[in-house]
């Protein structure tokens, strides 16, 4: 099956710094999502981005489907950005149009004050 690799596995920043998280995938995908899991375990959708670039405040994401990678940019990081960031790709459809998401192992981000 499709492989999803995220890098770096761990990242420590000072508040105000910028960062780039990377997601590589081994095969063509129908879609890609970025999630943030906060320290309480809640998994929040950040972006739904099969290709191109999207921005939401201090966060933006770019997916280059032809080269099989996606990048998540965090600018002017804040302590509330801490948590684990997951990339998940949709690689096949099941009966009824349900998509199957395959998750990477995540990047654990710690932003220190």
């Amino acid at each position: 099956g499709i492989q999803v690799e995220q890098s770096p596995p761990d990242l420590i920043l000072q508040e105000g710094a910028n960062s780039t998280l990377r997601c590589n995938f081994s095969d063509s995908v129908n879609n890609l999502q970025w999630f943030h899991q906060n320290p309480w375990g809640q998994l929040i959708n950040l972006f739904y981005i099969p290709s191109g670039t999207k921005q939401n405040g201090r966060l933006s994401a770019t997916t280059v489907a032809t080269e099989r990678y996606s990048l998540l940019y965090i600018s002017s990081s804040q302590t509330t950005d801490s948590g684990v960031y997951f990339c998940a790709v949709e690689s096949e459809l099941f009966q009824g149009g349900s998509e199957k998401l395959v998750f990477g192992k995540g990047t654990k981000l710690t932003v220190n004050p």
């Binding site: 129908n30 879609n31 999502q33 999630f35 309480w40 375990g41 809640q42 998994l43 929040i44 959708n45 739904y48 099969p50 997951f86 998940a88 949709e90 459809l93 099941f94 009966q95 009824g96 149009g97 349900s98 998509e99 199957k100 998401l101 998750f103 990477g104 192992k105 995540g106």
Partner: protein, 115 residues
């Protein structure tokens, strides 16, 4: 906003017990999913359902079953709980479209400990 509600945030059960984890969504979504999350392994799909009374196995269905009697509710059942089922369990839902392009929305998770 989509609301996916899991019945418990924390749950402690004993080996051999039958355990039910409940998930309810309020957006009339057709698809519902159960994942487990373990350190170093990320999220792995246990079961999913694309319609009432329909279910499909995910990547790690062994030791689990599911029930979907109503569209808004999807239950995960541990028939005889074992210590290796101690984990974080996450439920998700999504809408079906002719072309699949709807994101999955997650509940807050249930941290299950089997003693």
């Amino acid at each position: 906003d989509v609301k996916v509600t899991q019945s418990s945030r924390y749950l402690v059960k004993r080996t051999g017990e039958k355990v039910f984890l409940e998930c309810v969504q309020d957006m009339d979504h057709e698809n519902m999913f159960w994942y487990r999350q373990d350190p170093g392994l990320g999220l792995r799909l246990i079961y999913f359902s694309y319609d009432v009374k329909m279910k499909e196995k995910g990547d790690i269905p062994e030791g689990y079953s599911v029930s979907r009697e109503k569209k808004e509710r999807f239950s995960l059942i541990l028939e005889s709980a074992s210590t290796n089922q101690t984990s974080m369990y996450l439920c998700a839902s999504s809408s079906q479209t002719p072309i699949s392009n709807q994101p999955q929305h997650f509940g807050d998770g249930t941290r299950l400990s089997i003693l």
